[in-house]
Amino acid sequence: MHFGPHLLLAALEGLVTSAVLALTALGLSLVFGVMRVVNVAHGEFFMLGAVLAWAISTAIAGHPAIGFAAALVIAPLLVGLVALVAERLVLRRLNYNPEGTIVATIGMLYIIQQLALTFYGPEARPVEPPFSYRILLPWFGYSGYKLSVVAASAILLVITWLVLTRTKIGLIMRATQYDRETAQAFGIPVDRVYAGVFAVGTMLAAIAAVLIVPISQAHYLMGQDPLLLSFIVVIIGGLGSLRGTVVAAILIGLSDGIISMFFSPTLAKIVATLVVAMVLVFRPQGLFGTTPR
Amino acid sequence: MMPLLTTKGLSRHFGGLRAVDGVDFALMPGEIRAIIGPNGAGKTTFVSLLSGRIRPSSGMIVFDGADITGMPAYQRVRLGVAYTFQITSVFANLTAFDNVALPVQRTLTDGRSKGAVRTGVMEALARTGLADRAGTPAGQLSYGHQRLLEVAMGLALKPRLLILDEPTQGLADSEIDNFIELVHEIAKRATVLLIEHNMPVVMQLADRITVFNSGRILAEGTPEQIRANTDVQDAYLGATHG
């Protein structure tokens, strides 16, 4: 293959990564934006979504599309439920103290990972894609499913954006984010908002995971890279900025896809991590964010 | 005589709000100066600019002939500009002893000498009447004692200019009398600049008074002159202390 088509392929792969990453990072960003909680276990909720998707789709016989559709609905709901329980039992009792919650979510990370290893095992397992249509380009064929992941992610992002900007729920969330005490004084049930945001944040990660398992298999350690990349996206994009998150996800996803096709993936990670650390040190509001109030 | 501290066109804007707006101010060595003014007049912002806790938008601050406008707060403290906080902010989990030991150990010039910290601390605690509370965590002291501890910490810095931000707030009347005595005592060795709402305290203590309003200096003079100033009466005294 020549350089041009090669680059196109890399860009397409990068776009798929971006799509999944945008959803995952959006979940992390919502939780941090509204609750000021850094959810270190975010990647594990992602992994949990993928593992559950495997369990659900293998449990349901028939056409793969049925199993996949069931997984797409049920897995995120289950993950949201787990998150709700964790929020009630742990985060709320810590009164959402930023440092305490980091330590606690590190604990959750280990617990979820170990449980997945115990009950799911160390194998990587595939989930059959709901359809296997290949789009034929002049130079190579490309998976139609991968492109549909990009579309699905875009739709979900638009829905989230509409909910955040156009509905009462979005208004309540923004009010809570702006000032917790005042929101409480205005009769907003901050407790329930927090619980809901935490659940929705992890569900976004779970949906992203269900979308990705037909492409990359489910594995109990698969949460680590999405966590790191989501951090990177949220930091580069600027905290609490939906647009920044999406732009940064596309940027990171594309460069990840292209760089790892032409260079060592380890080197790519080193450079990316270092760049992001430097952004955080010298431009803490992110590249696209504005200075905080 | 040369002023100890002067500001020229000192301003600080927060967004559109001109909290401090082009203030020219001079403070002579050895005087006790009170700053008064209605809430939101910019008093606390002004002294925060002097102490270096916030940066000015424009203008200049000169202390003892040196331009300190861009100097970080901790270096100003070392030059002798000490600031005690409006809201008590002693180290609640440390003992009264440790609270005062922090400023004492930094001003010690004789380095390692054993027991020098202890002597200095007990001296400062004794001056503020807190000697018997040395071992008590500061957070467990009464509010009045916490304010006194705050002053003890300021004293222990051996300042040439001591800035007190509402030092009598929350004190009982008997404590206020002691406090006035204490400030007179301090003023023998240092220049004192205080923000104060309690007018009897201001009238008893201050050599001169500066009145702030809307981020600017409205009037300045002896207590008698300020009392007689009609502008001040309109803006401030008349309204709240009629």
Partner: protein, 320 residues
């Protein structure tokens, strides 16, 4: 600082060291080895505690300082054939220099950003070890041969693979670092560090350059953690990338939280406790991570002050 009883304090610390000395001759072989490992790692925890407990800076990247010492000592022995003492010094120097560089950058941030930045720098360090696998051995690691782990002083030689020699060296390092920590905590510098933890803004207004003080603490902490790593490489003869992974940044946090942050002996207690809990638990489950996870959550929920912190609060106010 709670300065009523310096004699009691010193007696306690010397007593602990003496007890550990005696244990060498009492413990069965297996536990003697375990204790040597625990003492070496308790030094790591003490270094972490200096920054987290006393200055209040929560780093999620201390594995990089530990492994800077580990590789600084291990690689100079392995590739350059350096002697044990020189390699140890090289390890500590690597850690201190790295801490200086990281401190200068990371201290521009605070709170959550500080945690994430330190974690990212540590991740870069970890990936660099993998990337330069030709020298570092990557995730396979390198085994340092027994012949390289002998200290020869004049005619005498100390073989670090001998279990008693190993134990005594671990104890020596542990004791030195424990006493250094105690001295720091009781010094004027220690008082400033605690003041920064309690209220940095106020400390500035007492004329302290808080950034410089924090930087000094980061370097001291990094150097101590590197000393632990260097000792680990030389005593146990293995260096590997897993020691630089994020898990090894979390472990000292766990040990310190468990033993009691801002207590001098807490790191030892926490490391000892955690090691034995996992040792006992591994008899009937392989779910090591589960225990770590549950312990972290329970600690932060119910015992934020840890074992010694709770004891100090309830009974022994003088505990340093």
């Amino acid at each position: 600082m709670r300065d009523a009883s310096p004699a009691k304090t010193y007696a306690l610390h010397v007593g602990v060291i003496a007890l550990l000395f005696v244990l060498n001759f009492v413990l069965p072989d297996y536990h003697q080895g375990l204790f040597a490992r625990i003492m070496a790692l308790a030094v790591f925890a003490m270094g972490y505690n200096l920054l987290f407990g006393y200055v209040g800076l929560l780093s999620l990247g201390h594995a990089m300082f530990f492994s800077a010492g580990l590789y600084g000592a291990g690689l100079t022995v392995y590739h350059l054939g350096w002697g044990v003492p020189e390699a140890f010094v090289a390890g500590v120097a690597c850690g201190a220099l790295l801490a200086l560089a990281i401190g200068l950058l990371a201290l521009r941030t605070s709170g959550v950003a500080f945690m994430i930045v330190t974690m990212m720098f540590a991740q870069v360090f970890y990936l660099l070890i993998l990337y330069f696998a030709a020298w570092t051995g990557g995730d396979q690691g390198l085994v340092i041969q027994q012949a390289s782990r002998v200290i020869s002083i004049g005619g005498a030689s100390l073989d670090l693979t001998n279990s008693t020699v190993r134990y005594m060296n671990a104890l020596a390092l542990f004791s030195v670092v424990l006493l250094i920590t105690l001295a720091i905590v009781r010094s004027r510098f220690g008082r400033v560090l605690v003041a920064i933890r309690e209220n940095e803004e106020r400390t500035k207004m007492l004329g302290y350059d808080t950034v410089a003080n924090k930087l000094a603490a980061v370097v001291a902490s990094g150097a101590i953690c590197a000393a632990s790593g260097a000792a680990y490489a030389l005593l146990f003869g293995y260096v590997g990338s897993s020691f630089a992974s994020v898990q090894y940044s979390i472990l000292p946090l766990l040990w310190v939280l468990l033993g009691g942050a801002a207590t001098t002996l807490g790191p030892l207690v926490g490391t000892l406790f955690m090691y034995y809990v996992t040792d006992i638990a591994s008899g009937f489950t392989s779910a090591y991570l589960l225990i770590v996870g549950v312990a972290l959550i329970l600690l932060v929920l119910f015992f934020p002050k840890g074992i010694l912190g709770t004891i100090r609060e309830r009974w022994l106010g003088w505990l340093p």
